[in-house]
Amino acid sequence: MPEQQTADDRTGPAQEVALFLRERREQIAQRWADAAVFRTVFTVSRDEAVEAGRAVVEALAAVAATGRVEDSEADGFTVVREQLARTVRSRTRAGASTGQISAETDALRRPVTELLLDELAEAPADHVGECTTALAVLMGTLRLVMLETSTVAGEELINRQRLELLEIATPVIKLWEGIVAVPLIGTLDSARSQVVMETLLDAVVEQHARLAILDITGVPTVDSLVAQHLMKTVAAARLMGAECIVSGIRPAIAQTIVHLGIDLSSVLTRASLADALAYALQQQGARIVPRAVAAAESR
């Protein structure tokens, strides 16, 4: 039995931990299956969570057996890295922060430490200390591996969201026959303004729009570049026979544009989307009147 190993054997405690992990594999996996980091990810059945836990225990045992408990690059982790990455991705998608995932991984340490202490109940105190330290370091390394994958997962998430934002933030809304509106929200950087221009010009063709309203209520800053993008979009739409109205110009934005010295006189502007719609309807020969007025007129 490993208890006979001497305390000054350098790889002793780690290898004993490896042996313990292999022998108690089932028990550890059963306990881990109830921990958040497994339970919330492997939701199909408890067996699935136990299976995932078993794979992690085996990986930890393999790492411990080589004595490199502090090495997050240890070969033993290779087999479970994909599974851990999947776990982290799933938790990140569910809205868990890196700190939460770290805490959830740390929660795995307690059940396995308790089992180890049971196992070593008869062993001398300093030996128990060495083994629990080796296990603690190993579990810390597992946490590090998780966090490394979570950073990668976070970057993937950001890139995906950035693409999604490009798509989401530029819907073209048909307000009336021949009138479309594009509510602009957020920062109009070059990539976004390109998407805006393309979707607007497509809509002009598809919807046979003669009037297009660009609403900038949701654009926090209108600097010279944003103004330039707006003017280019308006000019391109004009070439296609559609007139653009820029609406949603707030008082602070209007004053800023004037101080900045940008000449937007070539662009038709209105304070609100409602004003822009009223103007557009008028251009289309339509008019919104209260029912009472309409009744009086028809008489």
Binding site: T187, D189, S190, P220, T221, V222, D223, S224, L225, A227, Q228, P251, A252, I253, Q255, T256, H259, L260, G261, I262
Partner: protein, 147 residues
Amino acid sequence: MTHSTGSVSACLPIHSDLDLVRARQQVRQMTAQLGFGLVEQTKLVTAASELARNALVHGGGGQMECTEVTGGGVRGLRLVFSDRGPGIADLDLALSDGYTSGEGLGMGLGGARRLVHEFRVDSRRGEGTTVTVTSWAAAPPRPREGR
């Protein structure tokens, strides 16, 4: 006006479009905290956007330093944009409206000057450009003016 200058409370790198967004957000947040009115907030944020973009596009990247300042009982925000780019060859020309060395409207530098209360450019050819701007929160309204 005697100015007392606080310590630099934020220093943001400007190396990408995303940094421009961060710079704008930082200025917006700080001006709101300092009690700037909405118009003055918007003006300084817009000026910061122009100057940060200049540092990125013409200076090849740089940084923005934000410092809270106090003068005559009024609080203000000083922004220092610095880059190590080629510098500005003709400052008067660069400040004139409509002149651009790139593809922009040519309103950035001159426009930014009109949006802030104090404006200073230090540029040395081959060594880079530093633009320092300061805006003040409007003096608090006198009691009789209150609604």
